[in-house]
């Protein structure tokens, strides 16, 4: 059984980054991707997420660079800013909800160049796929 990581911790982010950088398939799919994506998880005290969680992830031509738990100010500096409720992000992380479908349906929000995202949707899907390979303990499962 693979080691389990608590979601939204730096250790979990490090493991996600390691999984991405170990993927040859990702390197090929994401060879043209340039830029950072921040993820905001809205607070949901009923699910053990008492405060919003801000994550900063950076990618460059098939490599994952900085993967950080950060503050709102840092999150706002990303090329793409994504946000949504905890329950939606959990569904995405467990592949119960397609990220692009969630965006179109208003379950998640995205600020940034949507044409770039649309052109690189395979890259986004792969990053999410690789997240599902990380053995994750979610806050409401603790």
């Amino acid at each position: 059984m693979a080691e389990a990581f608590k979601a939204f911790t730096q250790e979990w982010m490090d493991e996600w980054k390691k999984t991405i950088n170990a993927s040859k398939e990702y390197k090929e799919i994401a060879k043209d991707w340039e830029g950072s994506v921040s993820i905001t998880v809205n607070a949901d005290p009923s699910k053990n997420v008492p405060e919003p969680v801000y994550m900063f992830t950076d990618y460059w031509h098939g490599d994952a660079l900085d993967f950080l738990i950060c503050d709102n100010a840092k999150a706002q500096t990303a090329k793409f800013i994504m946000s949504g409720d905890y329950s939606r992000w959990k569904q995405v992380a467990k592949k119960e909800l397609d990220a692009t479908k969630a965006l179109m349906q208003g379950k998640l929000k995205l600020k940034g160049d949507l044409t770039y995202v649309v052109r690189n949707v395979k890259t986004i899907n792969k990053v999410v796929d690789l997240l599902t390979e990380v053995n994750t303990i979610f806050p409401d499962e603790v």
Binding site: L110, D113, T115, R119
Partner: protein
């Protein structure tokens, strides 16, 4: 129909539809009042004014029209939206009424955001960033094909970036669309055929999208029925008001279908050949549609075959008892036949497309966002190139 066991979806169709000959003048004022508005800015373009399509509507509004903004080019841009919003603000407008095609409608959609939220349009580049309803917008379309009157997407050219930006906001869907078939009577045959095939492609691709769902399918199926019956009648006699109206309704239904379920390989390839060789969008959709349908069933995928068999029934060339593969092929052949009946171009080479163009376009197609929704997974550009070659 074919749906996953895990089917779950959100269907949105927030735009009220008012249909009828003459409705653009007879119903507009009461729709404005119903929205609690009394000061309209009309957004249109010089072509519409020249064709005399907006004059009667503006006259009908009387004092309720506080201004006409007609400075909208074919591919609208952020600067146009900024000027339009400033104009509307100066006039104290509380509603935007767009009369025209896609560019006019998208300009009006973005003006509504600036009128409500202020600031720069660049702040709203993205998806679902708004949290409240925007300035009311009534659309009066003068073409029948794009479905823009019921979608919540706006495509705007950003001169500084040198590219188009997308703004996707369900809170900014038009509040009402007035479909008056009289306004489409002057559309020339090729434009009627190509915009009609754009609508047919929206309907068929929505049904063969990985995001297909029953509500969108219902819209798509009836759109296919109406288009296959009435589009040829519009070509035969452009003044056939009944046929024009049915095609207009079909385009709106197809707009709802693809607005919810998305599009696939045909649009990926049409976007790409449009970018490389400037082939008009509706024309490239029409030409590529049957070849892409053939591609989608050629690997023997049972889901795709079942869906195309259903489409064949809507096209009137099959019954429920027919063998699915045979019915699916009948759908493909019927689209080829329809193209001939409506005198639509059938080869890309008629628009000067060369082998070098389709090689470039195949590269772009693989990276186009629409392709990921296609029922047949496409990851090899050689597969796309083979389809282009058939359509060349």
């Amino acid at each position: 129909m074919v749906y996953d066991d895990s089917l779950s979806f959100v269907y949105l169709g927030p735009t009220k539809i008012i249909f009828g000959s003459g409705s653009s003048t007879s119903e507009l004022e009461s729709e404005m009042s119903a929205l609690g508005c009394s000061r309209a800015v009309v957004v249109t373009d010089p072509g519409i004014i020249k064709a005399g399509l907006s004059e009667k509507i503006v006259k009908t509004l009387g004092d309720k029209c506080v201004g006409v903004f007609s400075d909208v080019p074919q591919d609208t841009g952020i600067d146009v939206v900024n000027r339009g919003a400033a104009f509307a603000r100066e006039k104290g407008a509380d509603i935007v009424i767009s009369i025209g095609g896609g560019s006019v409608i998208d300009t009006a959609k973005c003006m509504c955001i600036l009128l409500t939220e202020g600031g720069s349009l660049a702040n709203y580049e993205g998806i679902q960033l708004l949290t409240r309803l925007q300035t009311p917008h009534i659309v009066i379309p003068t073409t029948a094909g794009t479905g823009s009157e019921v979608t919540w997407v706006a495509v705007i050219y950003d001169k500084d970036k040198g590219q188009k930006i997308l703004i996707v906001e369900t809170y900014n869907a038009p509040r009402a669309a007035i479909l008056d078939p009289q306004l489409t009577l002057k559309l020339p045959p090729l434009l009627t055929a190509s915009t009609g095939m754009d609508a047919m492609t929206h309907a068929i691709e929505a049904m063969t999208s990985v995001q297909r769902e029953p509500m969108a399918d219902a819209m798509a199926l009836h759109a296919i029925r109406l288009l296959s019956t009435y589009l040829p009648q519009c070509i035969k006699d452009g003044s056939n008001l009944h046929a024009r109206g049915q095609v207009q309704l079909a385009a709106t239904m197809a707009g709802w279908a693809f607005g919810n379920a998305m599009v696939g390989i045909v649009h990926a390839m049409a976007h790409s050949i449009g970018a490389v060789a400037r082939v008009p969008h509706g024309v490239s959709c029409g030409i590529l549609l049957p070849y892409c349908m053939d591609f989608n069933i050629s690997d023997g995928d049972e889901d795709a075959i079942a869906i195309y068999a259903t489409i064949a029934q809507a096209l009137g060339v099959s019954t429920r008892d027919d063998e699915p593969k045979k019915a699916a092929m009948a759908a493909v052949n019927e689209i080829f036949a329809l193209l001939k009946r409506i005198e639509h171009p059938i080869k890309l080479s008629a628009f000067g497309v060369k082998e070098a163009d389709i090689i470039k376009a195949a590269d772009l197609s693989i990276a186009d966002g629409a392709i990921v929704n296609n029922i047949r997974c496409v990851s090899d550009k050689e597969e796309v190139l083979a389809v282009y070659r058939k359509a060349l």
